[in-house]
Structure formats: C-alpha cells, structure tokens
C-alpha cells in the first residue's frame, strides 16, 4: 500500500475520475470488439477489459460476460509482480494459467503494467479474450472429458513476458503459431488484445499527466471505499439469514454416475455487513475438465450475489471486501492444483455454483434472489464441422449459437428467456437462421418456443426452445456438445416448479427420433436432422399466486395451454380468454390446500 493516502479528493473529482476510468475500459472494449477476428469474440462477445490498482485490486471493468471479470484479476496481477519483481515500461505479459488466477486456459489475458517516467508501477491494465483454439489435444476449447492437463493439452502461460519495450517476443509467438489451430486467427486476436491493452495504458498515462499519480491513487482508494459503502448499504437492507442449497451437475466421463453435487452454504451477516459463502462441502477434484479454477469458483459465487442484491453496487475490490468465500483445498470448487484439468471451468460447475447461491437468497426470504438458470451446451450450440459441397468442397468448422433459453424467474420479474447460462447472463447473440444457412451447408427446419415448458411459478422461468436442423447436400455433418441439465433440471424456488430439461435427438429419415447422450460427438447423415429441446429456467413462487391477468396473456400468447392454466395455475378460462372467476377461486384454493395443512 502506498502510505500517503490520507488526503481526500473532493466529491466532484471523484465523480469525474470515475467517469474517466470507465471511459477507458469501454474504449478498450470497443477496440477489441471492432478488431477481433473469431466468432467467439464478435458474436459471443466473450472478452473483458479492466484496470487493477498498484496493490493488485480490481478497480473497474467494462460491461461483459460476468463469469469473465469479477474475481481473478487480483491473483493474476499478483502473480505477474511475484514472477517479475522488476517491471519496466513497455512490458506485457500473457497469462492464461488457471493455477495462477486465470479462469480457464482458453482465456488468454494480456496484462500491461502502467509505469511512469521514473520506472514506478502505478496500475495494471488487463484484457481477457476467449480464444477460438488454445492448442488442446482435441479441436475444442471445452474438453469436458480431459482426465488432466496433459490429456487436455492446452498451452499454459503463467504470466509470461510476451513484450519487452513494446516489441513482441517472437519466440513465444512462433511457439503459439506452431501449436494453436488456425494460427492467423489467433494472431489476429492477439494483436487486437494487445492493441486494446496499449490503448488503456496510453489513456491512464495521459490522465496522470492531467491529475498527477497521487490523485489517481487517492481516487482508487476512495472509489473502492465508496463501492464498499454501497455494498454495506445493500447488505444492511437484507434480512439476517442462512441457507444451504445444493444442485447436481449431470454425469460426464470422469465423474461418478450420479453426477456432481454442488453445495453452497450462504450466510447473510447483517451485523457485520458481510455475505459469507462456504463452498467447503463439495467433492474433491475429478479426472475431467469440469474442475473449477479458483477464479471461476469465486466469480460463480459473486454472480449469484450480485444477481440478488441492488444492482447499483459497483463490482470491484471494494464491494468484494464484504464477500467472504471459503474454498477447501483439493475440492472441485476452486481447490484444485496443477495438473488438474479446468478446461470447462467457466460454464458447467460455475453455473451450478451461481445457481445455488442465487437460490439460497430466495430461500432466505421471499422477494430475494432467483430460481436456477438452465445450463447451456445443447446440440443447438454445437461445434459443427464437415465439407461444404456448395463452395469448392471446402472444410468448415465453427461453433453455432442456434438458440438458447434457460433464464431463471426472479423475485420480481419473469425470466429473461435467452440467458444462455448463468455466467453468460444473456450477453451473447443468437444466430440468424439465414446467416447460418448461408455460411454452412445446413437447413434450420424449425426454431420455436415450446408450449407448457415454462418453469411454472408466480414468476415464470424461461420455457424450452425447440430446434431442428441438419445438413444439406451429400456430406454428413459432425456435431459435438457437452450438455448439462438433461437429468438435473434447473430448480424452481419458493414453490416455483423446475425448468424443462435438455434433450437431444437425431431425427432419422423415416421421421423417428433417436435419443442422444448429453455429451457427444456424432455424425448427422445427409437427410437426418439434429433435434434439441433447450433447458428452461426454474419458476419463483407458487404458480397459483401468479396474477390471473398474466396467465390470461400466457394462454393467449400460446406459452401455456388451457389445461395447464387450470391444472398448475388454477386459472379456468375459455379459449377466448374469458375467466371463470368462481371456478378459478375454488381451484386456486384447492391447489393451495396441501400447503395450508402443512403449516
């Protein structure tokens, strides 16, 4: 810590500097978005930008996929400082080691220390980008079935110096080009990432000239204190309480046949204005790619918390001070050590962690938290590959984002349907049918919301989407996916029902459906089609508490059938939407009865 941080800056400068720092991270993000090459960058927007203080605390970050950017920046910056005690102007470091603070190996991160004329390190700028390929043994960045890091095969860079005096270390670049698939694409994304980091560096140096380093450091201290105060305020508005909530991930190769049970013990300690989450009661690491990095375990918890509290609390090291997370060494939730594989740490189990935390809030008090979000990874989001006979028999391989739903009901609103998965928060885009049919030799026969699949409740969880697509032309298409949620649905909360499960099939030429496993790499023959039902999200509150007006709209809009309106929601209406008030009252009373007896 810098010692002279006692002098305060005035509130006007505080507000203005906050705006300035925000503008910098947004500028960095814009640079990346407009120069990035891979679809995972442009379509899925799978990147983040942030600024870290001298003493390795996350100061601010641009809006991005939440799983990317909450925890981990601190550990990564510390690693950089420990491994390179003397930092020089012009240095840049490549970091993707999940054993040193990174989320997972596919997230290549560039760290640039911001150094003044006298060689003093003041801030670190940080840009993280999910790569289209990171040198794994298989052509995917999500190796769910990798038994360990060696089997996974990713190249690991624990804060490796990649630029010296603003010049690339070509040895490392060449190593990457020899090992990462589609090297031009990797190199293009690398240039974009470095460009964004250097924009951030330049802007901070400029700000220091205008305000002086001391002011910027005082600002950082005060800003983090301010954020902490908002967090304290937000926690003080919550009730005291505790909830222990579990959620089970479907089995994949390397896990026990019953799957992986994730448990969070959440305590709202109002008196000390703390939220404590204990992840100790979770299994040891497993010989698969699902193990969580420390960054993803912590971030998974934080997403669940920030989803559940007032949304005006800045997400930085200041507000994080009011969050205590306990991780057991050796556990699957962030306690793993090298060479445990953490290939898919940003999605599957991290999502289960987030789900347990946000549902715990709802268990503590009605009006708080959310139900569970459905996981993603269905066949409608496969990596597809094959030969395109329309254009010179060219090979194609790419990830599609045909459709996803999964949104959880919240305490106050129905689900945001297209949330994708909890760590994504709906930030990714969904493909255009026409664009996919133009890019790939395939046809999308059908893509629609399925009636009566919503997570019923006072507020409803997202329904399932149905999707059917297959290859056209003579060649087959290979599709691979790693899905969760086929066995274990997204849970509803406070009487809300569970969301619908994920299902994948192949429709044979005769029209029959053949069930497919949750985790698969299969060939779809010409004339056959892949059929997917996406995971829905859980409902919040008892269905019979849902307003009659909303049910009427659900029925008219075709989300809920007349029968389900009656059976589940206790609303009796005809197909013109006319409500039978008397029967509705009786039916709703009947539905609520078992509960009344219990009480």
């Amino acid at each position: 810590m810098n010692e002279k941080r006692s002098n305060k800056i005035d509130p006007i400068t505080l507000a203005i500097l906050n705006k300035r720092f925000d503008t910098i991270t947004t500028k960095m993000a814009n640079t990346l978005l407009r120069t990035g090459r891979s679809g995972v960058l442009n379509m899925a927007r799978d990147f983040s930008t942030s600024i870290i203080t001298q003493d390795c605390q996350l100061l601010t970050g641009a809006e991005s996929l939440p799983i990317h950017c909450l925890s981990g920046a601190d550990i990564m910056a510390k690693t950089m400082k420990e491994m390179h005690p003397t930092l020089r102007k012009g240095d840049a470091f490549l970091h993707n080691s999940p054993y040193h603070g990174c989320s997972h190996p596919a997230d290549h991160t560039i760290l640039v220390p911001v150094i003044d004329e006298d060689g003093v390190h003041h801030f670190t700028v940080w840009v993280k980008v999910h790569q289209a390929d990171c040198g794994n043994s298989q052509p995917t960045t999500y190796s769910g079935d990798a038994s360990d890091l060696y089997n996974e095969g990713a190249l690991i860079f624990p804060a490796v110096k990649i630029q010296d005096d603003y010049e690339d270390n070509m040895d490392i670049i060449r190593m990457c080009e020899m090992r990462i698939r589609v090297p031009e694409q990797w190199r293009g994304d690398y240039l974009a990432t470095m460009g964004a980091a250097r924009v951030g560096e330049r802007e901070i140096l400029e700000m220091a000239r205008e305000f002086g380093w001391e002011t910027l450091h005082v600002f950082a201290t005060q800003w983090l204190d301010y954020s902490e105060n908002l967090m304290i305020d937000a926690i003080k508005k919550l009730p005291v309480g505790q909830a222990i909530v579990s959620s089970i991930h479907d089995p994949v190769p390397g896990t026990p046949p019953q799957g992986v049970k994730i448990t969070s013990n959440v305590v709202i300690d109002k008196e000390n204005a703390l939220i404590k989450v204990d992840l100790s009661d979770n299994p040891d690491t497993m010989p698969c790619g699902l193990n969580l990095s420390e960054a993803c375990a912590r971030t998974g918890v934080m997403i669940g918390i920030f989803n559940s509290i007032k949304d005006n609390v800045p997400t930085n090291a200041g507000s994080f001070r009011r969050i205590q997370i306990k991780i057991r060494g050796g556990s699957i939730t962030g306690g793993g050590k090298h060479p445990t594989s953490m290939s898919v740490a940003t999605t599957n189990l991290a999502d289960r962690v987030t789900n347990t935390v946000q549902r715990a809030f709802s268990q503590i008090q009605d009006g708080l938290g959310l139900a569970e979000c459905g996981p993603d990874g269905t066949a409608a989001g496969s990596v597809i590959s094959g030969i395109d006979s329309r254009f010179k028999e060219e090979m194609y391989v790419n990830q599609i984002f045909m459709v996803f739903t999964g949104g959880a009901a919240t305490a106050k609103t129905d689900a945001w349907f297209t949330i994708c998965h909890p760590g994504n928060a709906g930030m990714s885009c969904i493909d255009s049918v026409e664009l996919d049919e133009l890019h790939f030799p395939l046809i999308v026969k059908d893509r629609h919301i399925v009636c009566d699949t919503e997570g019923s409740g006072r507020q409803i969880g997202a329904p399932s989407a149905f999707c059917e697509f297959g290859p056209i032309g003579d060649h087959p298409m290979t599709a691979s996916w790693v899905a969760d949620g086929a066995k274990n649905k997204a849970k509803g909360t406070r009487g809300g029902h569970d969301g619908s499960q994920n299902r994948n099939y192949i429709r044979k030429e005769d029209g029959s459906l053949e069930t497919q496993p949750a985790c698969a790499t299969i060939q779809v023959k010409s004339g056959e089609r892949l059929v997917t039902y996406t995971c829905g999200g859980g409902g919040y509150g008892h269905p019979w508490e849902r307003s009659i007006k909303q049910i009427k709209n659900d029925v008219i809009e075709g989300y809920v059938s007349l029968e389900r309106a009656k059976e589940v929601y206790g609303v009796i209406l005809d197909k013109n939407g006319k409500i039978d008030q008397q029967s509705t009252k009786l039916r709703r009373r009947e539905l609520a009865k078992p509960l009344n007896f219990k009480n």
Binding site: I16, R20, Y226, L230, W416, G426
Partner: protein
C-alpha cells in the same frame, strides 16, 4: 417560397424560406390530438406576419417539407394498428428470439421484451425456400386462404409478411400478396423483400411488421394533412423527411411510413455538415444537439453523413430494431433537464433521470423539486431568470437554490456555487464521454473535428465540452434551436434500393452481379425521371455490402464503377474496401478473400443548390439594457461578465470571454479565456 415544418413533442417549428433566400422562424405549441392543427397554427403565424390571408400565403408555397414524430410516438406508446405477422412455418418466434444479447448483466428488474407482434397474431405459412433460392416446399395456398380467413375474423388492420429467403426468391411473398388482395381487400400489408431486402430475418421482419403497423394511421394522417393544406390553398409539392437524412414524396412515404421514424434527429447532421463547411471550412464535425432530456450526437466524417444499420426504438436488445440503415445519431440521457443527485455512498450523479418538460427544472415552478442542469446554470448566473426564452417564461431562482441546497449542498457539504458548478462540470463530463465513445469508435480524434452545438440548451456548456475534448473550434448556428427544420430546407430528395446476391472475390459471379447492378440503376433512373423530375442535380451511387471471409458484419463501400468488367475492377474495389475497413476498425487484412452479401443503390436529387439563407427574426427579440452581470466560473469565481444580444452582434465582431450571449431561443456561455466571433452566416464561431 418553401416551408419546413418539424412537429416535435412540445413545439411545432416552422422555418420559412422566402424567395429572397432569407429565413424566418415561427413556433407554435404541438397539438397532440390533432397535430395538423398545430402545423396550421404555425403557418397562420407566418401568414399574419406577412400580412396576408392563410389561403394566399399557402398558395405561394412551392414546397412544403414536413417531419413528424407521429410514427415513432405510435410505436413507443404501442398505439399502432392491430397487425398480423405472416412467416415461414417453423419460424413463428423470429420476433421473440430476436438476435439475443442483453445489457446490464446484473439487473434482473427488466423483463424480457415482448415481441413487436404478439404470438397470438403470428401465423405460419407452409412453404420454404433455400438460401440459394430453390423452392424446397411449395406454398400451401389452401392453408393460406384459411389463415387469411382467420385474419378477417380477428379484425386485423394490417399485415406484415416476412418469409425466409424471400430476398433471394420473392415468389412466395408475391403469391401471399395476391391472395391477400383477393381475400382481404383494403387491408394494407408490407412485403419484406419489397420494403427492406436484407439478409437476417429478424431485422427484416422487424422493419416489415413495424412498417405495416404504421400504415393505417400514417396514411390517414398524411391524407388529412394534404387535404387540409389543399383546402387552405396549397397547390405545391408535399415532401416528407426521412430517417435517411433526406426527403421523400408524401405518397411514397405513405406507402412505407417506417421511413419517417427518426426523421427529426437525422436532420441535425445535415445542417451541422453545412455550417461546419461554411463557418470553419471543416469536413469533420461532431454535431451535438442538446435538448431538455437528450443529447443527440452524430459525426460527420469527411463531409459524409454517417449511417448505421443498428437503430433501435428504445434501448438496444430491449426495444425494437428498425432494421434500416439510418442516419447514425447516438442519443444519451443528458440535457438541460437532467437531474443532479447524490447516492447513498456520497457520489454526485447528473442524470440519466430527467425532469423533462413537465414538471421540468425546479425553477419552472411546475412541481419539479430536484435540481437540474438548468437550475445549476441559473444559480451560476449563466441564465438570466427574466430572459429565458426571450422573457416569455419567468424562472424562479429561489426554487433552484432551494433544490440545490437540499439535494446537493447538504449531503456534500458544498457552497451553493460550488455545488452548481459541480453539476455543470459533471454534465459536461457525461457529454464528453459520449462524444469520445462516438468518435473513437469510428477512429476519429475529436481534436481534429469542429464541434457544432445545436439545440436550445447547447450554449450552456458546449464551450466547456470543446475545451475538455481539445477541439479548436466551436460553432453555434444562429437558428440552432430549430436546427432540424433548417436541415430540412437543404436536404435532398432521395431513395435507395437494395438487392441480395451472395458471391466472393475468389469466385466472383460477374454475370449475376452486373445484372443486379443494372436493375438497381434502372430503378434509380426511373426515380430520377419520376419524382426527381425538375431537380437541380441528380446522382446515382452504387454500394457493395461486403466483409472479410469469416466475418459476421458487412460494411458498405461505394463502387466506383457501374459494373465489374474484370479482375482489375475487383482489385480496385478491394483497395477501397481495405481502406474503409482500416478507417473504421484500425486494420485491414490483405490476405483474406472478400465476401459480398448485398448491393445497394441510392438516387439523390438536389432540390436547392443555393445555400442556407440568413435568419431574419428581428421582431421577436427585445431590446435589452443589461450589458453585464455576475456569473460564476470555476476558474475565476464570481466574475463581472459581459452580456451581449446574439442578433445585435455584427459579422466580424469579436468578444473575449467571459461573456454571455443571449437570444430569445438560447444562451451561449463564453468561458474565461475563450473568444467568439460572429460570422456572415449568422453563426457564432468560438475558440475555446
């Protein structure tokens, strides 16, 4: 004589261009129940001013140019026609899924957006065409006739038709139209391949349905306008402003009313471009239009008006996309009415909440109790409480003081002037960061651009914004408060046509591309000889919508040739493409092949080749005795500050800051250290 009328939310602005070329401005209140009434009131004012009867006045008008917020208001308030959406079987949820995406990841208080057309009014049509235009499933006409019967039973008032790949093969959409004509006569419909032939079904469907839903209302409104103008002696030409920054024949707009959405803001860059050139000989300008609640920004680069394919009504991902390229105007919630507040952590904020026109700033005494930017300027002495809008509205300084003391001074322990100054400073910072986002995003260094400040509240801090950005020149046009109406007078008659045809640079289909381009040119020529007949100048510009192989978004690059003869033409285009890509995105990729997705042609007909006239509004200004007052600036504290009247400054006259320049429409603050000169055009040109 030409008239331009802009119907806004609060006022209807009329700009008269006399045959002498001089301009005069008239204002009347907008009459939401019958907007035509407001228009006629404004015209009556102009006729009275001329001392002639309305009939006589309108009889002398050659061209009547009109812009209206009628369409956009109908969409925002969901007061459009009961519209059905017909689409390909299996894809009824195009408007539900949209393109995914979300903003504010931790905010779970915003519900998932409703589709523009309810699912209950969405009907699937059994048919399918492939990406290459082949009919895979032929249209089931019997089923369609049954569907149309349902539309009749449901008393549908308009129909939007968007079938997959209709842009490659329109056969099925055309057939649907025939059956609608036959079985549902008199009900307006829109076909997607006619209205907006672009790739990507969500965007095309959104524009199609929005357009259809506006048809009944807009044809009634436009018919009414034209009738009532004619009844009152008008025999000239009625043109409508569009979101593309030009004008269209009223009849043409009536057939595609979606084009009037966003027409108001689109005029600002047109006018801004003109003044940047005339007053500062500059081709790159940031045009900032400050209103009461929003700050509308656009960037003119190298003399060109910026266009964007991403225009949303409402917030991105939460509202509805228009789906058309329209003038790129970024709107942020910052203006004179933005509210200043202190949060529970002790941080000062300005906006995004706004006091709007009602209740308005605290000083309006109309029930607003929270301090706004306008209140801060009043407290600082930048605005004269007795001369707001030329003295037509008295402001209450005490109310401003009370609001600032309560909401800002107390929690932050600041003096009244410090607090007011902080509000203005932070509002300035918000606007600066919005400008930086717009300029940097397009690779423009704001220091190289001139800043054109328009809108009633622009003068309050445009000089401060320019100083912060490092811009060397600020232009405040004389008629800045009615910028849109002024832009309308110099805008061109235009149209554009698009066609989809996919090809690539390594396998270029010369024959098909040239045939497509020929057809586009022919359409443009027909337009120039039809609606464009008699214009002063006309031109046709072709564009290709292309991208590097594997990219997702295309960019529009103008063609220098009318058709492609050989590889040299492709290479020449390629060079232009690489340059454009580098300019927009800072890099080019010489190795990648190009993919061409769409083709576009625009026809532009100049209606006026003379420049903009001078504003002649002497009668509206009052003579004022005041020549100085105390005003607060953060650098100099309370300072005796010169006050001058805008219309009394002579061309070439120079004033050094601190100074305040007032007119009945606006107040311009010249900070200490800055200087201002009046130009021949009437504008103030300020060196910050």
């Amino acid at each position: 004589m030409r008239l331009a009328v802009d119907t806004g939310g609060t006022f209807t602005d009329l700009m008269v261009e006399y045959d002498s070329g001089s301009l005069q401005m008239f204002k009347s209140s907008t009459t939401p129940d019958d907007p035509i009434e407001g228009i006629l009131n404004a015209v009556k004012k102009a006729a009275d001013h001329m001392g002639v009867a309305l009939n006589d006045f309108l009889g002398r008008v050659d061209v009547f140019i009109h812009g209206t917020t009628h369409a956009i208001n109908a969409v925002i308030t969901e007061n459009t026609a009961k519209t059905a959406f017909l689409t390909t079987k299996g894809h009824k949820d195009i408007l539900v899924f949209r393109e995914g995406g979300r903003i504010e990841p931790f905010n779970f208080n915003v519900p998932f957006p409703k589709p523009y057309i309810p699912r209950a009014l969405t009907f699937e049509i059994s048919e399918r065409i492939s990406s290459q235009g082949k009919i895979l499933d032929s249209l089931d006409e019997d089923a369609l006739v049954e569907t149309i019967q349902q539309l009749k039973e449901k008393k549908i008032e308009a129909v939007g038709v968007c079938l997959l790949w209709s842009v490659v093969n329109p056969e099925h959409e055309i057939k649907v139209a025939q059956l609608l004509d036959e079985h549902l006569p008199g009900i307006p419909y829109t076909l997607s391949h006619v209205l907006n032939p672009i790739l990507r079904e969500y965007r095309r469907a959104s524009s199609t349905c929005m357009d259809a839903s506006l048809k009944p209302m807009m044809s009634k409104y436009l018919g009414g306008l034209s009738n009532r103008l004619e009844e009152n002696g008008f025999i000239g030409r009625l043109l409508m402003l569009t979101s593309k920054g030009g004008v269209m024949e009223m009849k043409e707009l009536s057939a595609a009313p979606i084009h009037s959405i966003g027409s108001g803001p689109s005029m600002a860059p047109i006018a801004g471009q003109y003044f940047a050139k005339v007053d500062a000989n500059a081709k790159t300008a940031i045009v900032a239009d400050t209103g009461g609640t929003t700050y509308d920004l656009s960037l003119v680069r190298r003399g060109a008006i910026p266009m964007t394919p991403e225009t949303w009504i409402g917030e991105p991902t939460r509202g509805h996309i228009i789906g058309f390229p329209s003038v790129d105007v970024k709107s942020v919630g910052a203006g004179g009415g933005s509210i200043a507040w202190v949060d529970s952590g002790g941080l000062l904020h300005v906006g995004p909440q706004s006091a709007g026109a009602v209740p308005g700033p605290a000083c309006y005494d109309k029930g607003g109790v929270h301090p706004t930017v306008t209140d801060a300027c009043l407290v600082l002495g930048h605005i004269d409480p007795l001369y707001f809008l030329g003295g037509t509205m008295k402001l209450n300084l005490e109310s401003s003081i009370k609001a600032i003391e309560k909401d800002i001074c107390q929690p932050l322990n600041l003096s009244r002037l410090e607090a007011a100054s902080a509000i203005l400073k932070l509002a300035t910072e918000n606007m600066v960061s919005a400008i930086e986002e717009v300029t940097i995003h397009q690779g423009i260094d704001p220091r190289s651009a001139v800043l054109v400040g328009a809108g009633g509240a622009a003068g309050l801090n445009t000089v401060a914004i320019a100083k912060r950005l490092g811009c060397s020149t600020v232009i405040i046009p004389e008629a800045g408060a009615t910028f849109s109406a002024q832009g309308a007078l110099i805008s061109d008659l235009h149209t554009d046509y698009r066609a989809m045809l996919y090809t690539s640079s390594d396998n270029f289909d010369y024959q098909k591309v040239n045939k497509t381009l020929d057809q586009l040119i022919l359409k443009c020529k027909t337009f120039i000889e039809g609606p464009g007949a008699g214009s002063k100048e006309s031109n046709i510009q072709l564009f290709a919508e292309a991208r590097y192989k594997g990219q997702i978004w295309e960019i529009d690059v103008p063609l220098k040739v009318k058709n492609f003869q050989g590889s040299e033409d492709i290479q020449a285009f390629r060079n232009d493409f690489d340059r454009a890509h580098e300019e927009l995105f800072t890099f080019s990729d010489l190795q990648s092949e190009l993919q061409f997705v769409g083709w576009r042609a625009t026809a532009q007909c100049k209606l006026s080749t003379v420049g903009m006239g001078r504003l002649n509004n002497k009668k509206t200004g009052q003579k004022r005795a005041i020549s100085s007052r105390q005003a607060y600036f953060s650098d100099t504290g309370l300072t005796q500050t010169q006050v001058a009247m805008f219309d009394q400054l002579l061309p070439g006259q120079k004033i050094k800051g601190p100074a305040i320049i007032e007119s009945p429409f606006t107040t311009v603050v010249i900070d200490p250290g800055a200087s201002v000169i009046r130009k021949e055009s009437g504008s103030l040109v300020i060196t910050p």
